[in-house]
Structures are given as C-alpha cells and as structure tokens.
C-alpha cells in the first residue's frame, strides 16, 4: 500500500478543494461529536447518581393550610395528620419534613467547628424530621443512634432555634472530621449554640442538585423538628402498595381536615421527582445524541457524494490503469487510501478544534475538561466513518472495466 501514497498525493493536489472540504467537515464533526459525547456522558452520570433513599416505595405530598393557623393549632393538625397517615393500610411509615431529596431547591446552612469561625467547613442540606425520618426514607444508620421522641420539637416558619442534637450523613461527617471522629462532636450551624452529632447515616442526597449544592453532594443533616405550616409529608409504602397508598393518602388527609390545599402536582412518587430533577440533564443528553447521529449521517453522505463524483470524473483514468494491469484490489485500495489520508488530515485538525471548543465551554459554562478517551473514541469513529462512506464508491470504481480506456468520454 505504501508505494501508492505518492501518486495519491499528487492526484489530490489536482482536486484540492474537495479534499479540503472533506477534511474540514471531518474536523468540525470530530470537534462537535467529541464534545457532545462528553456532555452526554456527564449528564447520564447525573441521571444514575444514587439518592440513598428507598425510591420505589416513597411518596411525597405537599400540604398547605388554607387558613392561617397558630403554631399550636398547626402542630396539633400536623400530629393528627401523621397519625392518620401511619394508620393507612400499606403504609410502612410516614414523616413530615421541610423538603425531600432532589426537590430542586431547598434549605442549606453553613457549618463551622467553633462558634467564631467565619469560613464555613461545610454547606449541607438541612432536613427536619422526627424519629420516623430515617425509617421512612429508608436511609441506613451506620453509627450512633436515632432521635428519641422527646428530642423532637415543633418549629414555625422563620423561627430559628438550634436543636441540641443532629444526625449527619457520612459525606458531611467526613467533610467536617476527616479523621472519622465525627460521632459525639459538637458543630455550629450559624449559631453560637452547639449541636451534637448523635448519629451518622450512609447516603442521603441533597435537596438542590444545582452546581453550587453539588459541590457538597450528599452532605446533609437532619434536625429533630416537626415543621408546622406548609410542609411535605413523606410516606413509605410497603413493597407493591404505592399505588394504593397514593389513592388512600390524599383522601384520608382531606377527611381529617378539609381546609387544606393538596395540588394535583403536589403528589409525587420518585419517578416523577427524578424526572423533574433531571429533566434538563435528560433533555440535553437526548439533544446531543440526536445531533451526533444526524451529524455523522450527513458527514458520511457528504463523503459518499464527493467520492462518487471523483470516481465518475476519473472513470477514464481508472480504465487506463486497469488496462495497464492494475487489479480491482489496487483500484479499491487507491480510493480507500485516498480517503484515509484526507480523514487523517481532518482528524488531526479536528482534535485541536475539539480541545479548543472544550476549553471555551470550560471557561464560559463551568464545564469539565474533556477526557482523552472521548478524543480517542471520536477519532476512531470518524476514521471508520470515512472508510465506511468511501467503500461503496470505491467498490464501484474497482468495477470499472478496462474497456473505458478506449471510450472518449
């Protein structure tokens, strides 16, 4: 094959424009496909991030009181609601909280190790819940103990009192005390009153999934509090009972007290929560996927078109070569090598372009650096695409009969 390269190069010089166009198209395609694949991978990685909770059996109900209730009245209503919910057949457990994992936005609070420290050591998501919280969400307690019922207090909106005890996630414990000594330690959550870590749970995703919160991914803490006022009921159904619980729960709540608002979109299972939370990731991955596929198809079609044109232009020369003793295989490999040379040129330029495009995205959109594996995959993909697209016209060229040499057109 090697000896063929020189004549191919001198032939290419005679149709520079077409070769440059194919190389350019290959380069741009490589740049976009690499970056698109990388974006897809990052977004899909978000989609498959675990939450640490028993998603298949959880239901969230957003509850708003229609009347303005005093703190005492609201707390009484709340406890009555919880009693009703925990009685529903098929319900494993239920809890009231200020938020739920992957809600989209939520409550975070800076943590320091001394009351005077100004730089936060952690920025965890804050969950409020009673002694049923861990069991309801299906979170695993890996050290220490759960809350006791007598530690749980009601809290109204815009009230700020520090609970004496807290349960934290392992991610937060490790962030605050990298030596693994978190249990029993005191921490400060924007307060001069300390709170003591009495338990550590394994995994519990934060409420917001935005970039700022993802810098503290899985760093969450639970305070032994019942939030009165507008809040979320979280229910854990026994396996297979979620649909039945969903029907019964809203009815039971309205039967308990009619002066409340539960909107249709305020009752969510975790398929819905996930969908809402990862909507933009899913959409972005899909859009990039569609663009990749169509782009590769169009580039392939372009290569087929131009190579066919060249074959058509050179029928006479092919005939001459065949008449002078070149085999069909020689002709085939001529066009395949020609394509390979052009594609390699394009790919080299494309790698530089892909990196430049990624750097631009990094500086303007806080994206991550492109990993080399995507460049490699992209290069391989385009080399194969070029060869695949050139194959059909090259085969047609190899079938040109030596008799063409004698024709005038």
């Amino acid at each position: 094959m090697m000896p063929q390269i020189k004549p191919i190069l001198s032939a290419l010089r005679r149709h520079k424009a077409g070769a440059v166009l194919i190389a350019l198209q290959t380069a741009l395609t490589l740049a976009i496909v690499c970056n698109a694949l990388f974006i897809i991978q990052q977004r899909v990685a978000h989609l498959s991030a675990p939450s640490g909770i028993d998603e298949p059996n959880l239901l969230v109900i957003e509850n708003t009181w229609a009347d303005k209730l005093s703190k005492e009245d609201a707390d009484a209503q709340l406890r009555a609601d919880l009693a009703v919910l925990r009685q529903i057949p098929g319900v494993h457990d239920a809890v009231v909280s200020n938020a739920y994992p992957m809600r989209g936005s939520g409550w975070d609070q800076f943590i320091t190790l001394t009351p005077d420290q100004t730089t936060a050591v952690g920025d965890p998501a804050v969950y409020l819940g009673d002694e049923h919280f861990i069991d309801t969400l299906g979170v695993k307690l890996i050290a220490g103990r759960n809350f006791r019922p007598d530690e749980v207090r009601p809290i109204a909106n815009r009230e700020s009192t520090m609970p004496p005890v807290t349960i934290v996630t392992k991610a937060l414990a490790d962030k605050l005390f990298p030596d693994g000594s978190a249990l029993g330690k005191q921490i400060y959550a924007m307060s001069s009153t300390p709170t003591t870590i009495i338990g550590i749970v394994d995994l519990l995703q934060t409420q917001s999934l935005a970039n700022w919160q993802m810098r503290s991914a899985y760093q969450s803490l639970i305070w032994p509090m019942r939030i009165v006022g507008n809040s979320y009921y979280i229910l854990r159904a026994q396996p297979g009972q979620l649909a039945a619980v969903r029907q019964a729960a809203v009815k039971a709540l309205y039967a308990q007290n009619r002066m409340r608002i539960i909107n249709d979109d305020g009752v969510l299972d975790y398929t819905q929560v996930r969908q809402a939370a990862y909507d933009s990731d899913y959409g972005m991955a899909m859009l990039m996927g569609i663009i990749c596929v169509v782009l590769l198809a169009i580039t392939a079609a372009g290569i087929v078109g131009l190579t066919s044109f060249w074959v058509g232009q050179r029928r006479k020369q092919i005939g001459v070569r065949r008449a002078l003793g070149a085999t069909r295989h020689d002709i085939l490999s001529y066009f395949m090598t020609e394509n390979l040379l052009i594609t390699v040129g394009g790919v080299i330029f494309g790698v530089a372009l892909a990196i430049a495009m990624n750097l631009w995205l990094v500086t303007h959109f806080e994206m991550d650096r492109l990993s080399l594996i995507y460049l490699l995959v992209g290069v391989l993909l385009l080399l194969l695409l070029g060869q695949g697209a050139a194959l059909a016209p090259a085969v047609r060229a190899s079938r040109v009969s030596p008799i063409e040499a004698t024709r005038s057109v």
Partner: protein, 437 residues
C-alpha cells in the same frame, strides 16, 4: 431571465435526485437544528421590558461585609428588611417599590369548593406603573394604601374569571389564607419573560402572578416569602421579629431613574446611605453598593440557562458542517456539468450569466432545504418539551418571524455556500471543454 434560470435550476435538481436530496436534507436538518434551539434561546434571553429596561434599576447594598460576601466581594442579591425599608422611606427615586414573592390560598365563593393556591407578589403602589402592568378593571392601589397598611389586592384576569366569572369585581372582597382583601384592580394576564424583577431565586420563568398585595399589609399579617432567603454569620434571631432585624436578605428593591444624571445621583445616595450605616456602626466596612439596570441584572444572574446557550452553539456548529457539506456537493454537481458550461460559454454566455444561473440554482436548493427545515422546525418545536425543562420549553413557539428567518437563512446560507463552486464553474475554459468532447 430570472424565471428561466429558476426553471433551469429546478430541472437540474431533478436530474441528480440523490445529490439534490443530500443537499436539501443537509440544509434542512442544519437550519432546523439551529432554529429549534434559537427559538428556545430567543425566548429566554430576550429583553422583557425593552422600552424601559435602561431606566429600571435594582440597588444592592453590602450588608454582609467582605468576610461573607459573594465571590469578588459582590454584595448580596437582595436587601435585608431594615435596609429595604430605609431606602424606600427616603424616596430618592421618582418611582420605587420593594417586593417579594408570596404563595397564599384562595377560596372560591360557595361553601362546597376546595381552596387552591395562588402565587403573586407583595409590592408598593408604584410597582404597577414602573413595570407597565396593564389593567382590565380599576388600577393600582394608592400610595396612601401603602401607608395605611390597607387590605387591598390587585388580582389577575385569570383569577377574576375563576372567582367572579370575569365580571367587574372592583370593591368586592376575597379571602386569602384566612384574611379578607378588597379588590382595587384586575390586571390583564401579564407575565414578563424572563420575570426580571424576581430573577433572584430562580423563578424567572415561573407561572404568571395572580395576586399583588401591599407589602405593609403583608408585614402586619406576617406573610412569609415564597422566594429565597439568604443569611450569613449567626442567625440566632429567634422568631419573626428577630428575622426582620437580621442580616437575612429576601426583600427585592427596584427604582425607576429616568436619566443618567438621576442614576448617578441615586448611586451617590446609595453610597451615602452605606457610609451612614458605617458611621452608625451598623456595618463595619466601607460602602460597597451596586446599581444594575434590567439587562445588566439578568446578565449578572446568568438567567439564560446553560443548556440553551450550549445547545444553540452546538446547533450552529452543526449548521456550519451542513454548509461545508453543501459546498462539496454543489462543487461536484456544478463541475460535473463542465461540458454544458463550456457550450454555453462558447455560444456567448458571459461569466456573469454563469454566475447568475448557478447562484439561482443554489437558491432553489436553499429554498427546498428551507421548506424541509421549516417542517422539521415545526416538528421539533412541538417536541421541544422532551428536550428542555417544561417552564422553558413552553416559551418556544413558531411565529411568522421564525418562519421567515428559517427560509431566509436557508436561501442566504446556500447562496453563500455556492459562491466558491459557482466561481469554479465560471472559470471553466470553453475551448478546453469543447476539445475534450
């Protein structure tokens, strides 16, 4: 001559159906991808209030200090209650309002109905004139209502339809979260996109507002914000009143300043206010204030979602590749007809006529690509909900501008792409072609 060339173009399109189909598809897909993503980008990046955006400003005051400020020593996104009230009280701007988002419950008339949620804002009387809120009935409440902490409400046309069957409801009472309010105005359904005045907190593309109540009344009733609340340092404030006195920022101020002189004056006033606070010992740092107008504010908050910018860029790159593809295919198509060109030139056609003929031919390809692109764009926009978040996706729509733009961009881009192939075609030497034939 023009129609003759168009006919020639169409005939030539039919002669090479595969090549033509390839080009039309490339242009169609390329332009459709660009237009679909552009329709989303256009919706989220537009100026929500073009005639006034340069005259509406959001003042920011550094109430956290360098230890706690946002990166780059940027002051907080909103004001704490104390600063907000103090700024409004001095009334340095001709029109001004402070506001925050709320969510209340409303009860339709008739005992059997179930309460429902209504979203809206607390504001001051200037709000409506500042932001050009259109009214169906009545008007904004008076400045005196703010002072007297009056229980009045402006409701949206949608809520008026729901509660009062669409009739003139001025003077009637509605109950919101257990308290009565008198209707003083019914606004037309009005929702700026993005809703710049509440851009902090991520509700720029939220549902339209149904209620507006005076902020003074809301404070009496302790109506909590449904928006963001951000605090620094220790927050041992205890209860509601402690929260109002705390450094937590949650009140959003806006002022209207009609000239650069006024804006400069206000900037000086802000610095003066901050200096006073420093002298009073409330803040232990030098004045650090900002006065951004609407577009500067939206830009600063990055209101345009990352997804829409990146996808628009990728789509434009995609379109560029489609055009390069088209250049190659046009080159092949034109040069294949070198013989024909040679004959025409030999028979007296000038280069100019060759240019004209082939550019018009390219134009017809572009037009066909545009039609396909239009079809794909319409299809894509109806399916845009699968690709973008619902609140963003529903903003994208196909209008006459987009239709025109799709066709125009396709034709223009294809003609530009055809420049090089046409130039090559015009360079064909008649003698050479005739000889080799």
């Amino acid at each position: 001559m023009f129609s003759y060339y168009v006919q020639l173009g169409l005939r030539s399109l039919r002669r090479n159906p595969v090549l033509t189909a390839l080009m039309v598809m490339a242009i169609g897909f390329g332009v459709a991808a660009s237009m679909i993503t552009y329709s989303v980008f256009r919706a989220v990046s537009g100026n929500p209030i073009p005639e006034k955006s340069e005259r509406l400003f959001i003042p920011q005051i550094d109430s956290w200090g360098p230890k706690y400020n946002l990166p780059g020593n940027e002051p907080p996104y909103a004001l704490n209650y104390v600063d907000a009230v103090a700024l409004m009280r001095t009334h340095q701007a001709k029109r001004q309002t402070m506001l925050y988002p709320i969510e209340l419950s409303a009860l339709p008339l008739g005992g059997q109905s179930i309460p429902f949620t209504v979203e809206g804002f607390t504001a001051q009387s200037d709000f409506f004139a500042m932001f050009d809120v259109p009214f169906q009935y009545g008007s904004a409440w008076a400045a005196a209502d703010d002072e007297h902490r009056a229980a009045v409400v402006v409701i949206s046309r949608k809520l008026n339809d729901k509660l009062f069957g669409g009739e003139n409801s001025l003077g009637r009472e509605i109950t919101l979260s257990g308290h009565n309010y008198r209707v003083v105005g019914v606004s037309e359904n009005w929702n700026l996109k993005p809703r710049f005045f509440a851009a902090w907190g991520g509700t720029s593309f939220g549902n339209p507002s149904d209620i507006y109540i005076p902020i003074s009344r809301a404070m009496d009733l302790r109506v909590d914000t449904a928006g963001s609340n951000s605090c620094r340092g220790h927050i041992d404030y205890g209860d509601w009143d402690g929260w109002l006195q705390s450094n937590c920022v949650w009140v959003i101020p806006w002022v209207q300043l009609d000239s650069t002189a006024e804006a400069e004056q206000y900037q000086q006033f802000l610095e003066g206010y901050a200096a006073d606070q420093q002298r009073a010992g409330r803040y232990g740092w030098a004045p650090n204030v900002r006065l951004r107008n609407v577009m500067q504010w939206l830009d600063y908050l990055h209101v345009v979602p990352q997804e829409s910018s990146v996808s628009l860029l990728v789509a434009l790159g995609f379109f560029a590749i489609c055009l390069i593809n088209t250049i190659g295919l046009l080159l092949a198509k034109f040069l294949r007809r070198s013989g024909e060109i040679g004959v025409r030139r030999a028979l007296g056609a000038s280069r100019r006529e060759i240019y004209l003929q082939y550019l018009i031919e390219a134009g017809t390809v572009g037009f066909a690509g545009g039609l396909l692109g239009l079809l794909l764009t319409a299809l894509g926009i109806s399916g845009v909900g699968l690709l973008f978040q619902p609140q963003i996706a529903r903003l994208a729509h196909l209008d006459i501008t987009l239709v025109g733009l799709t066709l125009l961009v396709s034709i223009f881009a294809t003609v530009v792409a055809a420049l090089y192939p046409t130039w090559r075609a015009a360079q064909v030497q008649p003698a050479w072609q005739l000889k080799s034939n």
